[in-house]
């Protein structure tokens, strides 16, 4: 599977004004891969949440970069969002990562909502915090639905002929 991986990389300043560029890039690549409108919308939010955390927590208001790596595979799109700042405490956030409705409004805290959304909207989320923070988001391509199924069949048959 790995031999057919295509990688696109993008580095943006860790500044809220550039997170839309990450979304636009994601949109272009995911559309190229044949993901549905809904799947792309889900991924846009997940990628933005990872970027939000890097902007808010990685560099303590100092300048820094966010590195995005889009790994386009036959069966999935993996988006790696990496910063070189101090690690955001994902373990702590994971404890709070829950929908809001379980509590009365007065007790609701929105911390952890970003991580919750990443987990709810992607097929897999993994976080490593060794040098900086690296968030790895995976979306599986669900083939065999609607018109995309035909595109997949035709592209694979072209490969066989080659």
């Amino acid at each position: 599977m790995k031999e057919h991986e295509t990688v696109v990389q993008l580095s943006i300043p860790a500044d809220a004004q550039f997170i839309d560029i990450a979304r636009l890039t994601l949109y272009g690549l995911a559309a190229k891969m044949g993901f549905s409108y809904e799947e792309i919308e889900d991924m846009k939010v997940a990628v933005s949440e990872a970027c939000n955390n890097a902007v808010l927590h990685a560099y303590n208001g100092k300048k820094g970069m966010i590195h995005l790596r889009f790994e386009m595979n036959a069966h999935s799109l993996v988006i790696v969002i990496k910063d070189e700042g101090k690690g955001f405490n994902y373990k702590q956030a994971a404890k709070q990562a829950a929908p809001l409705s379980a509590k009365p409004l007065e007790d609701v805290k929105v911390g952890g909502l970003g991580l919750f959304l990443m987990e709810a909207l992607m097929d897999d989320v993994s976080v490593t915090t060794t040098s900086g923070t690296e968030v790895r988001l995976t979306k599986i391509r669900h083939q065999g639905e609607g018109e995309h199924a035909h595109e997949c069949i035709s592209s694979s048959s072209v490969q066989e002929q080659a």
Partner: protein, 116 residues
């Protein structure tokens, strides 16, 4: 670099503050949204209505701000409703559970409306 992706329009009426938000309510737009809405939130005498027809994107930043608005308005006993929520925004409200609190305030609003 000032091609704004987020717009907010405020229309003050005798009984309510009508706020239209358009574009992408993300981290970059959060401060603009906060500045525009904060003075209206404290006006407990009027209904606060935010219309989302043309909201094309929201994430936890925007949802967190709606929760903060809900809390403030509830403390004041003042109604706050959102209207015309696009399906993809509604989906995120449902996923995060924030729609539960909105239906709660909408019920209150209906009761208030019924009394007047």
């Amino acid at each position: 670099m000032d091609r704004r992706r987020f717009h907010i329009v405020h229309d003050e009426q005798p009984d309510r503050h009508l706020v239209y938000i358009k574009g992408e309510l993300d981290l970059a737009a959060a401060e603009q949204f906060r500045r525009a809405v904060e003075p209206l939130v404290d006006d407990a005498a009027k209904l606060l209505v935010i219309r989302l027809d043309e909201l094309t994107y929201i994430d936890s930043t925007g949802i967190g701000m709606f929760v903060a608005l809900l809390k403030t308005r509830k403390k004041q006993g003042a109604p706050f409703i959102i209207e015309n929520v696009p399906p993809k925004v509604q989906r995120l409200f449902d996923l995060t559970g924030v729609s539960y609190f909105f239906s709660e305030t909408n019920d209150i609003t209906e009761r208030v409306g019924g009394q007047s």
